[in-house]
């Protein structure tokens, strides 16, 4: 039996962050993870993160994972992979399966950072091969390089459903539709818009009637539901798909805590069964802490901060840092955490229907129901202006904690201000040089560079493009509007790929001038 100052269970964003902070305080730390690769879900998250610069915004999830791992490594944290924690016992003892044996470890403190598991819904045929969790789709395509299917229907329009739909498109799959029983899209509008402009339809207030097929999925029927979530006869729609992806939320994976005897509560706001814990994440068992989704479902960005808090709290509990130092660091992290928990998608706003943005602008119903802003609505947002020459058009319409665009512009054209959830606004005094840094920096891919008049009745639109194959200069194609409908012919003027853009290519297309504010995607012929 080996004893450590700190045992961390789970090498995801919160677990690694906890280990890093604890090791910085001088603790001897071991991290166990059942997977062959560390990073938890980070390694499947190939999109750029939201948030502020301090919280790894605009960095892709898997790179954050790599960064955390390097940092943990350099601090001497022992990350033991392919190591499944089998049980947690009295005296903070755990048993771990490593290779073909069982090892026993004790920790003077333990941080449980086991994350979440996917929720499921049932419908006739839900056990057929081809019905998979959205996490499974992500794992297959982003870790194993396998397409989950050729044609996919996504159930669920929370951020997971939206992000995975986009990733499916990136992997070369077709997405037949996004379906949600709720009347409104649950995730960020910008994520929905990315999918929508690629031509994927949204069906809100719809759900799956049945999955079809004998030995595997060959199709799916959906239908509209009423306010009691009962099917409305005659509204059935059929899709030929080989895969149905389910993204209907996550539940904390708290079994280890329960088995060890932690006091638990069922908290729907936190996604289910979670341990009761104090502000540092310490549970009813002294020296046993939690961090990340296991203590309540949130984003990876907040999981990392929670991890840091529990890491320093564990260090303090064993005398590695003083109580006042803990409090000082806690305040700093707490402030950051609070920042991330602001805006329309803040935990306290869950389930609420908001009508206006913080700026008092009406929230787009089209965005919430169809996944895109209409051409009329777009003009209301402070990021959208009409200027001579090239200038950014920021189609950012929801208050979410995110501000990389502000720092991205070398010319200070973009203002968000003190409040990280404010909508970005244009500083009309500053002069855009068309560098495109903002386009590549926007995690929501909501910024476009527009020159409404490049002569001869044409305009240019520069859009973020993360698909293969890359169009070539001179290629002709079709410009799609926000809803994914073809709006005009377009010619590729330029394609710019810089290391600083991190695989977000800047595609500039030439469209008729009247389409400057409509053309938002390019389809190759």
């Amino acid at each position: 039996m080996k004893r450590y100052d700190l045992i961390v269970v789970g090498a995801g964003p919160s677990g690694l962050s906890a280990a890093i902070e604890a090791a910085k305080c001088g603790m001897e730390v071991i991290v166990f993870d059942e997977n062959k690769k560390p990073g938890g879900q980070l390694f499947k998250q190939i999109h750029k993160f939201f948030g502020s610069k301090e919280h790894k915004a605009k960095i892709r999830g898997f790179r954050i994972g790599q960064d955390l791992l390097r940092e943990a490594d350099s601090l001497g944290v022992h990350v033991q992979l392919d190591a499944t924690v089998m049980g947690m016992y009295m005296d903070k003892e755990i048993t771990v399966r490593i290779g073909d044996g069982i090892q026993h470890y004790k920790g003077d403190s333990i941080i449980i950072a086991t994350g979440a598991s996917e929720n499921m819904v049932t419908f006739p045929g839900w056990t057929l091969p081809g019905v998979i969790g959205a996490g499974a789709a992500q794992t297959m395509m982003n870790l194993h390089g396998i397409k989950p299917g050729n044609r996919v229907l996504m159930l669920g329009t929370g951020n997971v459903g939206l992000v995975v739909s986009y990733q499916l498109l990136q992997a070369g799959c077709q997405v037949a539709a996004l379906v949600d029983a709720a009347p409104r899209i649950g995730g960020y509008g910008v994520h929905a818009s990315k999918v929508s402009r690629c031509g994927v339809p949204f069906y809100l207030s719809h759900t799956i009637v049945k999955a079809e097929g004998n030995d595997c999925v060959t199709g799916v029927t959906i239908a509209q539901v009423d306010e009691q979530f009962k099917f409305i006869p005659g509204t059935e729609k059929h899709f030929d798909v080989d895969t149905i992806c389910i993204a209907v939320g996550l539940s904390p994976m708290s079994q280890l805590l329960k088995m060890a005897g932690c006091k638990m509560e069922d908290n729907p706001r936190k996604g289910g069964q979670v341990p009761l814990c104090d502000k540092y994440g310490e549970t009813s068992l002294k020296g046993v802490f939690v961090a990340g989704d296991v203590s309540g479902i949130e984003e990876a960005s907040s999981a990392m901060i929670e991890g840091r808090i529990s890491g320093i709290a564990a260090a303090c509990s064993l005398g590695y840092i003083t109580g006042s130092r803990l409090e000082e660091k806690y305040q700093e992290h707490h402030k950051a955490l609070n920042g991330l928990r602001q805006g329309m998608f803040a935990p306290e706003n869950r389930g609420k229907i908001l009508k206006k943005t913080e700026e008092g602008i009406d929230i787009s119903e089209s965005l919430l129901q169809k996944g895109y802003l209409t051409a009329d609505e777009i003009e209301k947002y402070p990021g959208v202006t009409h200027q001579k020459g090239i200038h950014p058009v920021m189609e950012c319409s929801q208050n979410i904690p995110c501000n990389p665009c502000q720092d991205a512009c070398p010319k200070k054209c973009i203002k968000i201000g003190e409040n990280i959830t404010s909508l970005p606004a244009i500083d009309e005094k500053a002069q855009c040089v068309g560098c495109g840094m903002c386009v590549a920096a926007c995690s929501g891919q909501a910024i476009f560079l527009v020159d409404e008049d490049i002569g001869d009745g044409f305009a240019s639109v520069t859009l973020p493009y993360e698909f293969l194959p890359l169009p070539q200069k001179g290629d002709m194609g079709t410009a799609l509007d926000r809803s994914g409908r073809p709006c005009c012919q377009a010619e590729v003027l330029n394609i710019k790929s810089l290391p600083a853009f991190d695989h977000t290519n800047l595609l500039t297309i030439k469209v008729p001038a009247e389409m400057a504010m409509n053309a938002r995607f390019f389809k190759q012929i």
Binding site: G87, Y89, M90, E93, I102, H104, M259, G261
Partner: protein, 376 residues
């Protein structure tokens, strides 16, 4: 709803549920008070499912034989659940000379009580169960023993008793018994509720001791933790109940295909109590080593679950199933010492007889409560 009934039973385990069922069948009104949130939450749901006669103390053997003869064969039909009762014999295995000697002793004593049990050699063992290690040198063999599913049996008694009108209340721990004019009638719970009955049966496992203490009766019982585990489902292999001379494991293959095995670590009487029975970090590994010694081919079978339970180990390892003379109206049924499941139907049936007829088919004299008291 009235808090009065003919019989109040403290304890919603298989003993309490079986008593309730047979009493209700005889027309009694019954209230069952269970301290935990679940019916059958103690040993009733945590035991290895043995329905054995062999290996039992002669004092409780008649109950075991009675149940196997009269109650178990028709229990699934009666309770309308699948109790998964199998009467395919019990093999108690030995590998060494020393083991065989232990088994011979057990066999001789059981035979003396009229039980059909014999010693068999290695070849006979293999013919009964060809999956066993060739190292098995011999076994005791009781062909009328068997096993059943403790979960469905316990909950089957509950379900059927409830259907017959028995009132079950969970989360209602009995803390005190009270005499009214010389007769035990009242039952007080920690929630402050009072129930009243003509007869009070205390079948609350370990908790029976403090309950009985409240009326000045003490039955010497010890809290001992036992552990068990279950494997993934495998193709059907055998139907016997198994045990070993060393008692390093016992168990059977269930109808589901999984193997339920219990084992001992040697620390059972000394495990720490943190309020709920939690498994010891060493126990499952130790049990697996025991199993593999006898079933090498199960070495790659996967364990899916392990669990622990407290047993109410009576000072002389047999239960108290007895009216309490000095407290008229009170019946104690506790101290089953880890082997109560197999005899539970017989206990329930005979106690129902005792309550309604004042007599029992099986002579319970050797299981009286006052065997631990000074002679009158």
């Amino acid at each position: 709803m009235s808090d009065c009934a003919d019989v109040i039973i403290a304890g919603g385990g298989i003993i309490g549920c079986a008593c309730a069922y047979y009493l209700a069948k005889r027309g009694c009104s019954v209230i069952v008070l269970e301290s935990s949130d679940h019916i059958g939450n103690g040993g009733s749901s945590r035991n290895g499912g043995g329905v054995r006669q062999s290996g039992r103390d002669p004092r409780e053997l008649p109950l075991a034989m009675y149940g196997i003869k009269n109650l178990w064969p028709s229990l699934s039909d009666e309770l309308e659940v699948d109790c998964e009762y199998h009467q395919d014999g019990n093999l108690r295995l030995g590998k060494t000379e020393e083991h065989i000697n232990i088994l011979r002793g057990l066999t001789t004593r059981a035979k003396a009580c009229g039980l059909e049990v014999e010693m068999i050699d290695a070849e006979a063992v293999q013919s009964i169960n060809p999956y066993l290690s060739k190292e098995v040198a011999g076994a005791s063999w009781c062909p009328t023993d068997g096993h059943a599913n403790p979960l469905t049996t316990t909950l089957g008694y509950y379900k059927t008793a409830r259907k017959l009108g028995v009132r079950f209340i969970t989360g209602e721990p009995v803390t005190e018994l009270r005499k009214i004019r010389g007769k035990v009638r009242r039952v007080v719970t920690s929630n402050g509720n009072i129930y009243e009955g003509e007869t009070i049966i205390v079948a609350a496992g370990l908790f029976s001791r403090p309950i009985l203490n409240s009326i000045g009766i003490d039955i010497p019982m010890q809290k001992v933790m036992l552990e068990a585990l279950v494997t993934e489902a495998r193709a059907h292999m055998f139907d016997q109940m198994l045990g070993t001379a060393e008692a390093d494991f016992y168990g059977h293959q269930t109808k589901h295909g999984s193997f339920v095995f219990g084992g001992t670590l040697g620390l059972e009487g000394f495990t720490r109590d943190n309020g709920t029975p939690v498994t010891n970090s060493l126990a499952a590994s130790s049990t697996c080593r025991g199993i593999i010694k006898y079933f090498p081919m199960l070495a790659d079978a996967k364990i899916v679950r392990t669990w622990a339970g407290w047993m109410d180990l009576c000072a002389d390892k047999v239960p108290v199933i007895s009216p309490v003379d000095e407290a008229p109206g009170l019946i104690a049924a506790c101290g089953f010492s880890g082997h109560g499941f197999g005899i539970a139907p017989a206990v329930g049936y005979n106690l129902a007889q005792l309550v309604t007829e004042g007599r029992t088919d099986v002579n319970l004299h050797d299981l009286r409560y006052n065997r631990f008291c000074a002679k009158a």
